[in-house]
Symmetry: C2
Subunit: 373 residues, 2 copies
Amino acid sequence: MTTPGALDRFYSVIPAGGIGSRLWPLSRADAPKFLHDLTGSGHTLLRDTWDRLTPISGEQRIMVVTGRAHRAAVEAQLPALADANVVLESEPRDSTAAIGLAAAILERREPGVIVGSFAADHVIRNQRLFAAAVKEAVAAADEGYITTIGIKPTEPAIGFGYIQCGGALTVSGAPSALAAASFVEKPDLATAERYLDSGSYLWNAGMFIARADRLLEEIGRSKPELLAGLLELAAAWDDPATRGPAVDRIWPNLEKIAIDYSVAEPAAAGGRLAVIPGYFDWDDVGDFASLSKLNSGGRTTDLAILGADARVLADASSGIVVSQTKRVISLIGVKDIVIVDTPDALLVTTTDNAQRVKSVVDALKVSGSTDVL
Amino acid sequence: MTTPGALDRFYSVIPAGGIGSRLWPLSRADAPKFLHDLTGSGHTLLRDTWDRLTPISGEQRIMVVTGRAHRAAVEAQLPALADANVVLESEPRDSTAAIGLAAAILERREPGVIVGSFAADHVIRNQRLFAAAVKEAVAAADEGYITTIGIKPTEPAIGFGYIQCGGALTVSGAPSALAAASFVEKPDLATAERYLDSGSYLWNAGMFIARADRLLEEIGRSKPELLAGLLELAAAWDDPATRGPAVDRIWPNLEKIAIDYSVAEPAAAGGRLAVIPGYFDWDDVGDFASLSKLNSGGRTTDLAILGADARVLADASSGIVVSQTKRVISLIGVKDIVIVDTPDALLVTTTDNAQRVKSVVDALKVSGSTDVL
């Protein structure tokens, strides 16, 4: 049952790592997706994430895990972020290491802490419904469940992974909690339609809420060496004399594995994973098709325009223009187009081809054009 | 009959005036179409035109009519162009004024001169066949005909005007000369197909060859006031003391009318117009569809790339990229695309919409974005 004050023991963790290669040339190694305003809100996605979490956990209880290169940009975006809550990665080691280290550090500082991990670069539009789902998730986490918030699908999306729901759980404070039967990878369209019709599949939004001790226990079940490294690092973390050497020695050798594989799937298989259905608008803004839809109110006949200084003149055109220059951009008769105009690189494709943008990044690497990556 | 030495009395005139609005943003007020290399030859179209004419008339017998703003660029392209053969327009007054003034000046300097006017911004690929057609046209001109060279159509083009041919003429030195029955405007596709099938229509390439006195006589028939102005200007031209005042007084008041309407159509209607069929490759490169075809060997499945510093990475794409920057341009899955990338303006359209580019220029004028025109 839920201990009174579970939310008081809640800590938000924001892993701010991925570049977002399918959003190249907007997203780059030195300007990753979470540092962009992709909704025209006037704020970066990271800042929007922070603003969504502060009403739930408070400014003092949000930890950000990011790359050393992004420290200044992150701190500029989040001036209220406490120094002790910045975890810098010397290199990317995937989400188990990032979230696991945060959990291990927090558990040492505050035994019994409940951590919730929320991507830095997703878009969520209904704060009230989001907060309600997190509150239920915290309640389920306090009961010992590894808990996720799965998004109620609104269409047969093929760009997301899905969570297959099982029966209802009885958890005080989490009336909508269900058992998670399994996680499934991005489906083809026919499968996605079947998932949608069944009513028993939710989108995997990569949100994981758990007691830190339970999260570490799950990592230890599947990846004991990784857990040992994380615990050793956490033990050295809060002493300036020991942190640096420990990071140098341990971090580069940690196994790179997504938390979906190390924690979520095994926990689901073992009946230890709860899912709270989320009814808020959510998008991972994974590619330009998604960005286009997000910025045109879902109307594919519209042309979405992103960029404070955009000078776009469009005739009989639809899709999206992202402008990071002050150039005049003129479109005539191009449908479902994607145009990303940056000072040193230009992308022209269509929303249908949005998933293939990552291959350009790969091709540019191969061809040595790393100056624009 | 042909006077021996008619070619010795031949003078080429190159009106270098039009901006080429359908090639915006490549062509601009300060960088008109004739100052671009549109074929990857390494030379501007103006220079290619000059190089095509010098074997026929000689470097000393080519006159260029251009805007004052283009003087330096024209002289840089054509270092052998004689000062006396540069006619500068204070403002554009269309082709009757431009060609008529050249004819009037040359007729005063050298009575009996034969002038041939050839656009500065067309592409012709077979010098030998071009020279042979000009030679026949000069012979017909010497007989008193207003003479044009019409291009044998290779496809049912809808972007060109046509010349309807009549019966054969008997002209010494011009065995292929035909009477021109009429000029017709750009047709629709069905009509263009009918023209092509009939075998009796040629493309109007805007080449006019005539004795200067005959050309002026035709202008006088249809536009006597315009002729009077031209003759007055020509009389003042070669005296530095009188040219400037005459230009200031007369030029801005000359009627703006294309030579097709003032000379060619009336001459055709009156049986005074001869046409020499031209069998050489010709293109007016009127829009980006034409430019695309020209630079991809006619294969519409190819992607043509223009620009010395172009860095283009294309996957499953066709059409044309014109690059005037050093930016990486990446295309994925865009067919028949037109991308023109310049430092201050970007155009994205398709070859099907190429004719609509001019409307962008009009819209930019209306919106006050004249900085990129």
